[in-house]
Protein backbone atom coordinates (compact mmCIF):
# COMPACT_ATOMS: atom_id res chain seq x y z
CA UNK A 1 0.00 0.00 0.00
CA UNK A 2 2.80 2.35 0.99
CA UNK A 3 4.58 1.57 -2.22
CA UNK A 4 1.64 2.47 -4.44
CA UNK A 5 0.94 5.83 -2.84
CA UNK A 6 4.62 6.75 -2.95
CA UNK A 7 4.93 5.76 -6.57
CA UNK A 8 1.79 7.72 -7.32
CA UNK A 9 3.34 10.85 -5.81
CA UNK A 10 6.61 10.33 -7.68
CA UNK A 11 4.81 9.78 -10.94
CA UNK A 12 2.74 12.93 -10.43
CA UNK A 13 5.91 14.92 -9.73
CA UNK A 14 7.62 13.66 -12.86
CA UNK A 15 4.65 14.25 -15.11
CA UNK A 16 3.87 17.70 -13.72
CA UNK A 17 7.52 18.80 -14.08
CA UNK A 18 7.58 17.68 -17.67
CA UNK A 19 4.27 19.48 -18.11
CA UNK A 20 5.71 22.69 -16.65
CA UNK A 21 8.76 22.46 -18.92
CA UNK A 22 6.58 21.92 -21.97
CA UNK A 23 4.28 24.77 -20.94
CA UNK A 24 7.26 27.12 -20.50
CA UNK A 25 8.61 26.25 -23.95
CA UNK A 26 5.26 26.65 -25.67
CA UNK A 27 4.35 29.77 -23.69
CA UNK A 28 7.66 31.46 -24.43
CA UNK A 29 7.57 30.79 -28.16
CA UNK A 30 3.87 31.58 -28.50
CA UNK A 31 4.27 34.83 -26.54
CA UNK A 32 7.15 36.08 -28.68
CA UNK A 33 5.40 35.14 -31.93
CA UNK A 34 2.09 36.61 -30.78
CA UNK A 35 3.62 39.92 -29.73
CA UNK A 36 6.14 40.13 -32.56
CA UNK A 37 4.53 38.85 -35.74
CA UNK A 38 1.96 41.69 -36.03
CA UNK A 39 4.80 44.18 -35.73
CA UNK A 40 6.84 42.85 -38.60
CA UNK A 41 6.49 45.35 -41.40
CA UNK A 42 8.30 46.34 -44.53
CA UNK A 43 9.79 49.47 -42.95
CA UNK A 44 11.73 47.25 -40.53
CA UNK A 45 13.72 46.03 -43.50
CA UNK A 46 14.49 49.46 -44.90
CA UNK A 47 18.07 49.63 -46.13
CA UNK A 48 18.99 52.56 -43.89
CA UNK A 49 18.37 52.88 -40.18
CA UNK A 50 16.67 56.02 -38.99
CA UNK A 51 15.37 56.69 -35.51
CA UNK A 52 11.91 56.66 -37.11
CA UNK A 53 11.84 53.24 -38.69
CA UNK A 54 14.32 51.51 -36.33
CA UNK A 55 15.17 49.28 -39.27
CA UNK A 56 16.76 45.98 -38.37
CA UNK A 57 18.17 45.45 -41.84
CA UNK A 58 21.66 46.89 -41.11
CA UNK A 59 21.80 44.75 -37.96
CA UNK A 60 20.84 41.72 -40.03
CA UNK A 61 23.67 42.36 -42.49
CA UNK A 62 26.11 42.98 -39.63
CA UNK A 63 25.03 39.72 -38.03
CA UNK A 64 25.79 37.84 -41.23
CA UNK A 65 29.17 39.59 -41.60
CA UNK A 66 30.17 38.91 -38.01
CA UNK A 67 29.08 35.27 -38.29
CA UNK A 68 31.02 34.77 -41.51
CA UNK A 69 34.29 36.25 -40.27
CA UNK A 70 34.15 34.75 -36.79
CA UNK A 71 33.73 31.33 -38.39
CA UNK A 72 36.47 32.10 -40.89
CA UNK A 73 38.87 32.76 -38.01
CA UNK A 74 37.76 29.98 -35.69
CA UNK A 75 36.98 27.01 -37.96
CA UNK A 76 40.47 26.39 -39.42
CA UNK A 77 42.05 26.66 -35.97
CA UNK A 78 39.39 24.57 -34.28
CA UNK A 79 39.43 21.84 -36.92
CA UNK A 80 43.25 21.80 -36.93
CA UNK A 81 43.30 21.49 -33.15
CA UNK A 82 40.76 18.67 -33.27
CA UNK A 83 42.82 16.85 -35.93
CA UNK A 84 45.85 17.10 -33.67
CA UNK A 85 43.92 15.80 -30.66
CA UNK A 86 42.17 12.98 -32.50
CA UNK A 87 44.77 11.85 -35.01
CA UNK A 88 48.24 12.85 -33.83
CA UNK A 89 48.33 13.15 -30.06
CA UNK A 90 49.39 10.10 -28.14
CA UNK A 91 47.00 8.89 -25.47
CA UNK A 92 47.88 10.00 -21.97
CA UNK A 93 50.10 12.83 -23.19
CA UNK A 94 50.31 15.47 -20.43
CA UNK A 95 50.05 18.37 -22.88
CA UNK A 96 46.89 16.96 -24.42
CA UNK A 97 45.31 17.08 -20.97
CA UNK A 98 46.31 20.74 -20.72
CA UNK A 99 44.70 21.48 -24.09
CA UNK A 100 41.48 19.75 -23.07
CA UNK A 101 41.32 21.53 -19.73
CA UNK A 102 41.90 24.94 -21.34
CA UNK A 103 39.27 24.23 -24.01
CA UNK A 104 36.81 23.31 -21.28
CA UNK A 105 37.74 26.45 -19.33
CA UNK A 106 37.14 28.55 -22.44
CA UNK A 107 33.66 27.10 -22.88
CA UNK A 108 32.78 28.02 -19.29
CA UNK A 109 33.88 31.67 -19.39
CA UNK A 110 30.85 34.02 -19.42
CA UNK A 111 30.41 36.16 -22.50
CA UNK A 112 30.81 39.43 -20.59
CA UNK A 113 34.33 38.35 -19.59
CA UNK A 114 35.05 37.66 -23.27
CA UNK A 115 33.64 41.08 -24.01
CA UNK A 116 35.98 42.81 -21.56
CA UNK A 117 38.93 40.74 -22.75
CA UNK A 118 38.18 41.68 -26.35
CA UNK A 119 37.84 45.30 -25.30
CA UNK A 120 41.18 45.29 -23.45
CA UNK A 121 43.10 43.38 -26.13
CA UNK A 122 41.61 44.26 -29.52
CA UNK A 123 39.94 47.60 -28.92
CA UNK A 124 42.48 49.17 -26.54
CA UNK A 125 45.83 47.39 -26.87
CA UNK A 126 45.63 46.83 -30.65
CA UNK A 127 43.92 50.23 -31.10
CA UNK A 128 41.27 48.83 -33.43
CA UNK A 129 38.57 50.96 -31.74
CA UNK A 130 35.03 49.58 -31.66
CA UNK A 131 34.99 47.53 -34.85
CA UNK A 132 33.41 44.47 -36.38
CA UNK A 133 36.90 42.99 -36.59
CA UNK A 134 37.39 43.27 -32.81
CA UNK A 135 33.97 41.67 -32.35
CA UNK A 136 34.75 38.84 -34.77
CA UNK A 137 38.08 38.07 -33.08
CA UNK A 138 36.44 38.01 -29.65
CA UNK A 139 33.66 35.70 -30.86
CA UNK A 140 36.19 33.48 -32.66
CA UNK A 141 37.89 32.77 -29.32
CA UNK A 142 34.48 32.16 -27.77
CA UNK A 143 33.32 29.55 -30.30
CA UNK A 144 36.71 27.84 -30.61
CA UNK A 145 35.96 25.22 -27.93
CA UNK A 146 32.61 24.40 -29.57
CA UNK A 147 34.27 23.74 -32.93
CA UNK A 148 37.09 21.78 -31.32
CA UNK A 149 34.76 19.54 -29.35
CA UNK A 150 32.28 18.74 -32.11
CA UNK A 151 35.03 18.15 -34.68
CA UNK A 152 37.00 15.90 -32.35
CA UNK A 153 33.89 13.86 -31.58
CA UNK A 154 33.18 13.54 -35.30
CA UNK A 155 36.76 12.46 -36.03
CA UNK A 156 36.78 9.91 -33.22
CA UNK A 157 33.52 8.46 -34.56
CA UNK A 158 35.20 7.56 -37.88
CA UNK A 159 35.98 3.82 -37.65
CA UNK A 160 39.66 2.88 -37.44
CA UNK A 161 39.22 0.43 -40.33
CA UNK A 162 38.95 3.44 -42.67
CA UNK A 163 42.37 4.64 -41.56
CA UNK A 164 43.89 1.16 -41.67
CA UNK A 165 42.54 0.54 -45.16
CA UNK A 166 43.99 3.85 -46.31
CA UNK A 167 47.39 3.11 -44.76
CA UNK A 168 47.22 -0.36 -46.25
CA UNK A 169 46.81 1.12 -49.71
CA UNK A 170 50.00 3.10 -49.15
CA UNK A 171 48.58 6.52 -48.28
CA UNK A 172 50.49 8.64 -45.78
CA UNK A 173 49.09 10.05 -42.57
CA UNK A 174 48.27 13.45 -44.05
CA UNK A 175 46.54 12.04 -47.11
CA UNK A 176 44.55 9.68 -44.89
CA UNK A 177 43.43 12.56 -42.71
CA UNK A 178 42.38 14.82 -45.56
CA UNK A 179 40.99 12.29 -48.05
CA UNK A 180 39.50 9.66 -45.79
CA UNK A 181 38.89 10.80 -42.21
CA UNK A 182 37.83 14.43 -42.71
CA UNK A 183 35.26 13.73 -45.46
CA UNK A 184 33.58 11.10 -43.28
CA UNK A 185 33.46 13.57 -40.39
CA UNK A 186 31.92 16.43 -42.40
CA UNK A 187 28.36 16.21 -40.98
CA UNK A 188 29.72 16.44 -37.42
CA UNK A 189 32.00 19.35 -38.29
CA UNK A 190 29.20 21.23 -40.03
CA UNK A 191 27.02 20.64 -36.98
CA UNK A 192 29.69 22.32 -34.86
CA UNK A 193 29.61 25.27 -37.24
CA UNK A 194 25.83 25.46 -36.97
CA UNK A 195 25.99 25.40 -33.15
CA UNK A 196 28.63 28.15 -33.22
CA UNK A 197 26.48 30.21 -35.57
CA UNK A 198 23.70 29.98 -33.00
CA UNK A 199 25.99 31.36 -30.31
CA UNK A 200 27.23 34.17 -32.53
CA UNK A 201 23.75 35.22 -33.59
CA UNK A 202 22.54 35.30 -29.99
CA UNK A 203 25.59 37.00 -28.51
CA UNK A 204 25.26 40.43 -26.95
CA UNK A 205 27.51 40.90 -23.94
CA UNK A 206 30.71 40.01 -25.81
CA UNK A 207 29.89 42.44 -28.62
CA UNK A 208 28.69 45.54 -26.75
CA UNK A 209 32.21 46.73 -25.97
CA UNK A 210 34.03 45.21 -28.94
CA UNK A 211 31.91 45.72 -32.05
CA UNK A 212 29.96 48.58 -30.51
CA UNK A 213 26.37 49.63 -31.04
CA UNK A 214 26.32 51.80 -34.18
CA UNK A 215 23.07 51.09 -36.02
CA UNK A 216 24.44 51.24 -39.56
CA UNK A 217 26.37 48.96 -41.87
CA UNK A 218 30.02 50.01 -41.55
CA UNK A 219 32.09 50.57 -44.67
CA UNK A 220 34.72 48.05 -43.63
CA UNK A 221 35.49 45.54 -40.89
CA UNK A 222 37.24 48.35 -39.01
CA UNK A 223 33.94 50.17 -38.53
CA UNK A 224 31.55 49.68 -35.65
CA UNK A 225 28.18 48.00 -36.10
CA UNK A 226 25.53 46.22 -34.07
CA UNK A 227 24.25 42.72 -34.65
CA UNK A 228 20.58 41.75 -34.24
CA UNK A 229 20.92 40.75 -30.60
CA UNK A 230 22.76 43.99 -29.77
CA UNK A 231 20.08 45.83 -31.75
CA UNK A 232 17.38 44.33 -29.51
CA UNK A 233 19.33 45.35 -26.40
CA UNK A 234 19.88 48.86 -27.73
CA UNK A 235 16.18 49.25 -28.49
CA UNK A 236 15.49 48.32 -24.85
CA UNK A 237 18.08 50.85 -23.65
CA UNK A 238 16.48 53.59 -25.71
CA UNK A 239 13.18 52.44 -24.29
CA UNK A 240 10.78 53.70 -26.95
CA UNK A 241 10.66 51.13 -29.70
CA UNK A 242 8.82 48.22 -28.09
CA UNK A 243 7.06 47.14 -31.30
CA UNK A 244 10.32 46.96 -33.22
CA UNK A 245 11.94 45.13 -30.32
CA UNK A 246 9.21 42.47 -30.43
CA UNK A 247 9.73 42.11 -34.15
CA UNK A 248 13.51 41.78 -33.69
CA UNK A 249 12.92 39.05 -31.09
CA UNK A 250 10.83 37.17 -33.66
CA UNK A 251 13.59 37.43 -36.28
CA UNK A 252 16.12 36.09 -33.74
CA UNK A 253 13.75 33.27 -32.83
CA UNK A 254 13.35 32.34 -36.50
CA UNK A 255 17.14 32.24 -36.83
CA UNK A 256 17.36 29.84 -33.88
CA UNK A 257 14.56 27.65 -35.25
CA UNK A 258 16.28 27.34 -38.63
CA UNK A 259 19.67 26.59 -37.08
CA UNK A 260 18.19 23.98 -34.74
CA UNK A 261 16.40 22.32 -37.64
CA UNK A 262 19.61 22.14 -39.69
CA UNK A 263 21.48 20.82 -36.67
CA UNK A 264 18.88 18.09 -36.13
CA UNK A 265 19.12 17.01 -39.77
CA UNK A 266 22.90 16.91 -39.58
CA UNK A 267 22.83 14.76 -36.44
CA UNK A 268 20.60 12.30 -38.26
CA UNK A 269 22.97 12.23 -41.24
CA UNK A 270 25.95 11.75 -38.94
CA UNK A 271 24.19 8.87 -37.17
CA UNK A 272 23.35 7.02 -40.37
CA UNK A 273 26.90 7.44 -41.63
CA UNK A 274 25.93 9.75 -44.49
CA UNK A 275 23.92 7.12 -46.36
CA UNK A 276 21.14 9.41 -47.59
CA UNK A 277 19.49 9.01 -44.22
Amino acid sequence: MKQTSQSYILRTLVYSSAGITAAVIIGLVAYILYMGLPNISLSLFAVHYTSDNASLFPALINTLTVTLFSLLFAVPVGVGAAIYLAEYARRGNKFVRVIRITAETLSGIPSIVYGLFGYLLFVTAFKWQFSLLAGCCTLAVMILPVIMRTTEEALLAVPDTYREASFGLGAGKLRTVFKIVLPSAVPGIVNGIVLSTGRIVGETAALLYTAGTVAHIPGSLMGSGRTLAVHLYSLWCEGLKTEQAYATAVVLLVFVLILNWISGRLEKIALTGGKNG
Partner: protein, 282 residues
Protein backbone atom coordinates in the same frame (compact mmCIF):
# COMPACT_ATOMS: atom_id res chain seq x y z
CA UNK B 1 59.69 15.03 -50.06
CA UNK B 2 56.41 13.85 -48.66
CA UNK B 3 57.76 13.43 -45.16
CA UNK B 4 58.69 17.11 -44.99
CA UNK B 5 55.10 18.06 -45.69
CA UNK B 6 53.93 15.45 -43.22
CA UNK B 7 55.98 16.85 -40.36
CA UNK B 8 55.27 20.48 -41.17
CA UNK B 9 51.52 19.81 -41.22
CA UNK B 10 51.85 17.97 -37.94
CA UNK B 11 53.35 21.09 -36.42
CA UNK B 12 50.62 23.25 -37.93
CA UNK B 13 47.96 21.06 -36.30
CA UNK B 14 49.90 21.21 -33.06
CA UNK B 15 50.06 25.00 -33.27
CA UNK B 16 46.28 25.11 -33.81
CA UNK B 17 45.83 22.99 -30.70
CA UNK B 18 47.99 25.42 -28.74
CA UNK B 19 45.72 28.36 -29.62
CA UNK B 20 43.19 27.44 -26.93
CA UNK B 21 45.96 27.30 -24.34
CA UNK B 22 47.27 30.66 -25.52
CA UNK B 23 43.78 32.16 -25.39
CA UNK B 24 43.25 31.12 -21.77
CA UNK B 25 46.69 32.46 -20.80
CA UNK B 26 46.01 35.76 -22.61
CA UNK B 27 42.59 36.16 -21.01
CA UNK B 28 44.06 35.51 -17.55
CA UNK B 29 46.94 37.94 -18.12
CA UNK B 30 44.75 40.73 -19.46
CA UNK B 31 42.06 40.39 -16.82
CA UNK B 32 44.45 40.10 -13.88
CA UNK B 33 46.93 42.71 -15.09
CA UNK B 34 44.13 45.25 -15.49
CA UNK B 35 42.01 44.30 -12.53
CA UNK B 36 44.32 43.38 -9.68
CA UNK B 37 46.16 46.75 -9.46
CA UNK B 38 42.80 48.48 -9.10
CA UNK B 39 41.86 46.11 -6.30
CA UNK B 40 45.13 46.89 -4.59
CA UNK B 41 44.54 50.62 -5.00
CA UNK B 42 41.05 50.42 -3.52
CA UNK B 43 42.13 47.87 -0.92
CA UNK B 44 41.17 44.20 -1.25
CA UNK B 45 38.98 44.24 1.85
CA UNK B 46 37.24 47.46 0.91
CA UNK B 47 36.67 46.24 -2.63
CA UNK B 48 35.39 42.76 -1.87
CA UNK B 49 33.47 43.52 1.31
CA UNK B 50 32.64 47.19 0.91
CA UNK B 51 28.91 47.78 1.09
CA UNK B 52 28.84 51.00 -0.91
CA UNK B 53 29.25 51.27 -4.67
CA UNK B 54 29.33 55.00 -5.39
CA UNK B 55 31.81 55.74 -8.18
CA UNK B 56 31.19 59.49 -7.94
CA UNK B 57 32.41 59.39 -4.32
CA UNK B 58 35.25 56.98 -5.16
CA UNK B 59 33.57 54.23 -3.14
CA UNK B 60 33.99 50.88 -4.84
CA UNK B 61 32.56 48.09 -2.70
CA UNK B 62 31.21 45.17 -4.72
CA UNK B 63 29.80 43.09 -1.84
CA UNK B 64 26.19 44.01 -2.77
CA UNK B 65 26.84 42.75 -6.30
CA UNK B 66 28.41 39.52 -5.05
CA UNK B 67 25.34 38.96 -2.86
CA UNK B 68 23.12 39.94 -5.79
CA UNK B 69 24.71 37.33 -8.01
CA UNK B 70 24.39 34.73 -5.26
CA UNK B 71 20.75 35.67 -4.64
CA UNK B 72 19.54 35.40 -8.24
CA UNK B 73 21.58 32.24 -8.81
CA UNK B 74 20.15 30.57 -5.70
CA UNK B 75 16.67 31.53 -6.81
CA UNK B 76 17.31 30.06 -10.24
CA UNK B 77 18.57 26.82 -8.66
CA UNK B 78 15.58 26.52 -6.34
CA UNK B 79 13.14 27.06 -9.22
CA UNK B 80 15.00 25.37 -12.05
CA UNK B 81 16.86 22.37 -10.67
CA UNK B 82 13.94 20.23 -9.39
CA UNK B 83 11.93 20.88 -12.56
CA UNK B 84 14.99 20.17 -14.71
CA UNK B 85 15.95 16.89 -13.04
CA UNK B 86 12.37 15.60 -12.95
CA UNK B 87 11.90 16.51 -16.62
CA UNK B 88 15.13 14.63 -17.38
CA UNK B 89 13.72 11.61 -15.52
CA UNK B 90 10.56 11.91 -17.58
CA UNK B 91 12.48 12.11 -20.84
CA UNK B 92 14.78 9.21 -20.03
CA UNK B 93 12.29 6.81 -18.46
CA UNK B 94 8.64 7.84 -18.75
CA UNK B 95 8.29 9.63 -22.04
CA UNK B 96 6.14 8.06 -24.76
CA UNK B 97 8.04 7.79 -28.02
CA UNK B 98 5.66 10.09 -29.88
CA UNK B 99 6.20 13.01 -27.50
CA UNK B 100 9.93 12.50 -27.05
CA UNK B 101 11.26 14.08 -30.22
CA UNK B 102 8.95 17.09 -29.86
CA UNK B 103 9.97 17.67 -26.24
CA UNK B 104 13.63 17.15 -27.11
CA UNK B 105 13.58 19.74 -29.88
CA UNK B 106 11.67 22.07 -27.57
CA UNK B 107 14.42 21.82 -24.98
CA UNK B 108 17.05 22.36 -27.67
CA UNK B 109 15.14 25.45 -28.76
CA UNK B 110 15.29 26.78 -25.19
CA UNK B 111 19.05 26.25 -25.26
CA UNK B 112 19.36 28.21 -28.49
CA UNK B 113 17.24 31.25 -27.67
CA UNK B 114 19.52 34.29 -27.20
CA UNK B 115 19.75 35.75 -23.72
CA UNK B 116 18.46 39.17 -24.85
CA UNK B 117 15.28 37.48 -26.03
CA UNK B 118 14.90 35.86 -22.59
CA UNK B 119 15.51 39.22 -21.02
CA UNK B 120 12.94 40.83 -23.25
CA UNK B 121 10.42 38.08 -22.51
CA UNK B 122 11.07 38.47 -18.79
CA UNK B 123 10.71 42.22 -19.03
CA UNK B 124 7.41 42.23 -20.90
CA UNK B 125 5.76 39.07 -19.54
CA UNK B 126 7.17 38.17 -16.10
CA UNK B 127 8.06 41.58 -14.64
CA UNK B 128 4.56 43.13 -14.90
CA UNK B 129 3.07 39.99 -13.35
CA UNK B 130 5.44 40.18 -10.37
CA UNK B 131 4.80 43.90 -10.10
CA UNK B 132 1.12 43.16 -9.68
CA UNK B 133 1.70 40.51 -7.01
CA UNK B 134 4.56 42.01 -5.03
CA UNK B 135 4.06 45.69 -5.68
CA UNK B 136 6.63 48.07 -7.10
CA UNK B 137 7.96 47.93 -10.62
CA UNK B 138 8.37 44.16 -10.71
CA UNK B 139 12.05 44.17 -11.64
CA UNK B 140 13.32 42.02 -8.81
CA UNK B 141 15.31 39.04 -7.57
CA UNK B 142 12.27 36.87 -8.24
CA UNK B 143 11.97 38.01 -11.86
CA UNK B 144 15.68 37.43 -12.50
CA UNK B 145 15.51 34.03 -10.80
CA UNK B 146 12.56 32.95 -12.92
CA UNK B 147 14.21 34.00 -16.17
CA UNK B 148 17.48 32.34 -15.17
CA UNK B 149 15.63 29.18 -14.11
CA UNK B 150 14.17 28.89 -17.61
CA UNK B 151 17.59 29.57 -19.12
CA UNK B 152 19.39 26.84 -17.15
CA UNK B 153 16.63 24.26 -17.73
CA UNK B 154 18.08 22.92 -21.01
CA UNK B 155 21.57 22.55 -19.50
CA UNK B 156 20.29 20.62 -16.51
CA UNK B 157 17.86 18.51 -18.55
CA UNK B 158 20.48 17.65 -21.19
CA UNK B 159 23.27 16.61 -18.81
CA UNK B 160 20.95 14.82 -16.36
CA UNK B 161 19.19 12.89 -19.10
CA UNK B 162 22.52 11.69 -20.48
CA UNK B 163 23.61 10.69 -16.97
CA UNK B 164 20.39 8.75 -16.34
CA UNK B 165 20.65 6.99 -19.69
CA UNK B 166 24.26 6.04 -18.93
CA UNK B 167 23.22 3.97 -15.89
CA UNK B 168 23.47 0.26 -16.82
CA UNK B 169 20.02 -1.22 -17.37
CA UNK B 170 20.86 -3.95 -14.83
CA UNK B 171 20.19 -1.47 -11.99
CA UNK B 172 16.69 -0.82 -13.20
CA UNK B 173 15.90 -4.41 -14.08
CA UNK B 174 17.39 -5.73 -10.86
CA UNK B 175 15.20 -3.41 -8.86
CA UNK B 176 12.12 -4.46 -10.82
CA UNK B 177 13.02 -8.09 -10.28
CA UNK B 178 13.15 -7.49 -6.52
CA UNK B 179 9.55 -6.38 -6.70
CA UNK B 180 9.91 -2.59 -6.73
CA UNK B 181 7.55 -0.72 -9.02
CA UNK B 182 8.75 1.38 -11.94
CA UNK B 183 8.77 4.70 -10.08
CA UNK B 184 10.66 3.36 -7.07
CA UNK B 185 13.16 1.61 -9.33
CA UNK B 186 13.87 4.80 -11.20
CA UNK B 187 14.13 7.01 -8.12
CA UNK B 188 15.90 4.69 -5.70
CA UNK B 189 18.07 2.54 -8.00
CA UNK B 190 18.74 4.51 -11.21
CA UNK B 191 18.89 8.11 -9.92
CA UNK B 192 21.43 7.48 -7.12
CA UNK B 193 23.67 5.78 -9.67
CA UNK B 194 23.41 8.83 -11.95
CA UNK B 195 24.07 11.25 -9.09
CA UNK B 196 27.54 12.49 -10.10
CA UNK B 197 26.41 13.21 -13.64
CA UNK B 198 23.35 15.09 -12.42
CA UNK B 199 25.47 17.10 -9.98
CA UNK B 200 27.79 18.00 -12.88
CA UNK B 201 24.78 19.24 -14.83
CA UNK B 202 23.59 21.38 -11.92
CA UNK B 203 27.06 22.90 -11.50
CA UNK B 204 27.17 23.69 -15.20
CA UNK B 205 23.79 25.37 -14.82
CA UNK B 206 25.10 27.40 -11.86
CA UNK B 207 28.00 28.57 -14.03
CA UNK B 208 25.54 29.69 -16.69
CA UNK B 209 23.41 31.55 -14.16
CA UNK B 210 26.35 33.34 -12.51
CA UNK B 211 27.76 34.41 -15.88
CA UNK B 212 24.48 35.46 -17.46
CA UNK B 213 24.41 39.15 -18.20
CA UNK B 214 21.90 40.51 -20.65
CA UNK B 215 18.77 38.74 -19.42
CA UNK B 216 19.53 39.67 -15.82
CA UNK B 217 20.17 43.33 -16.62
CA UNK B 218 16.75 43.65 -18.17
CA UNK B 219 14.78 42.18 -15.26
CA UNK B 220 16.76 42.51 -12.01
CA UNK B 221 16.34 46.24 -11.41
CA UNK B 222 20.09 46.87 -11.04
CA UNK B 223 20.08 48.83 -7.75
CA UNK B 224 23.58 48.52 -6.29
CA UNK B 225 22.37 47.62 -2.81
CA UNK B 226 22.26 44.49 -0.67
CA UNK B 227 19.37 42.08 -1.43
CA UNK B 228 16.37 43.08 0.67
CA UNK B 229 13.72 40.58 -0.36
CA UNK B 230 12.64 38.65 -3.42
CA UNK B 231 10.39 41.45 -4.67
CA UNK B 232 13.20 44.01 -4.47
CA UNK B 233 15.79 44.72 -7.13
CA UNK B 234 19.48 43.81 -7.04
CA UNK B 235 22.48 44.24 -9.27
CA UNK B 236 24.68 41.31 -10.21
CA UNK B 237 28.43 41.34 -10.90
CA UNK B 238 27.80 40.92 -14.63
CA UNK B 239 25.24 43.73 -14.73
CA UNK B 240 27.61 46.07 -12.89
CA UNK B 241 30.16 45.71 -15.69
CA UNK B 242 27.83 46.21 -18.63
CA UNK B 243 25.87 49.08 -17.11
CA UNK B 244 28.83 51.32 -16.34
CA UNK B 245 31.56 50.27 -18.76
CA UNK B 246 30.16 52.59 -21.40
CA UNK B 247 31.05 55.81 -19.60
CA UNK B 248 33.54 54.76 -16.91
CA UNK B 249 37.06 56.18 -16.86
CA UNK B 250 40.11 56.03 -14.64
CA UNK B 251 39.80 54.12 -11.37
CA UNK B 252 36.09 53.56 -11.98
CA UNK B 253 36.86 51.69 -15.19
CA UNK B 254 39.59 49.67 -13.49
CA UNK B 255 37.18 48.81 -10.69
CA UNK B 256 34.77 47.43 -13.28
CA UNK B 257 37.51 45.28 -14.75
CA UNK B 258 38.33 44.15 -11.22
CA UNK B 259 34.64 43.20 -10.90
CA UNK B 260 35.11 41.01 -13.96
CA UNK B 261 38.17 39.45 -12.32
CA UNK B 262 36.06 38.49 -9.30
CA UNK B 263 33.43 37.04 -11.63
CA UNK B 264 36.12 35.22 -13.60
CA UNK B 265 37.50 33.81 -10.36
CA UNK B 266 34.05 32.53 -9.35
CA UNK B 267 33.64 30.90 -12.75
CA UNK B 268 37.07 29.25 -12.59
CA UNK B 269 36.15 27.71 -9.23
CA UNK B 270 32.77 26.54 -10.56
CA UNK B 271 34.51 25.08 -13.63
CA UNK B 272 36.98 23.26 -11.43
CA UNK B 273 34.18 21.74 -9.35
CA UNK B 274 32.37 20.81 -12.56
CA UNK B 275 35.43 19.02 -13.95
CA UNK B 276 35.94 17.14 -10.68
CA UNK B 277 32.26 16.11 -10.64
CA UNK B 278 32.44 15.02 -14.27
CA UNK B 279 35.58 12.97 -13.74
CA UNK B 280 33.89 11.38 -10.78
CA UNK B 281 30.90 10.56 -12.99
CA UNK B 282 33.11 8.98 -15.63
Amino acid sequence: MNSGKETSMKYIFFAAACVSVGAVVLICIFMFANGVPAMAKIGFGKFLFGLKWKPDLDLYGIFPMIMGSIAVTSGAIILGVPAGILTAVFMARFCPRQIYSALKSGVELLAGIPSVVYGFFGLTAIVPLIGRIGGGSGTSILAASMVLAIMILPTIIGVSEAAIRAVPSGYYEGSLALGACKERSVFFAVLPAARSGIVAGVILGVGRAVGETMAVIMVAGNQAVMPRGIFKGVRTLTANIVLEMGYAAGLHREALIATAVVLFFFILIINLIFMLAKNHAD
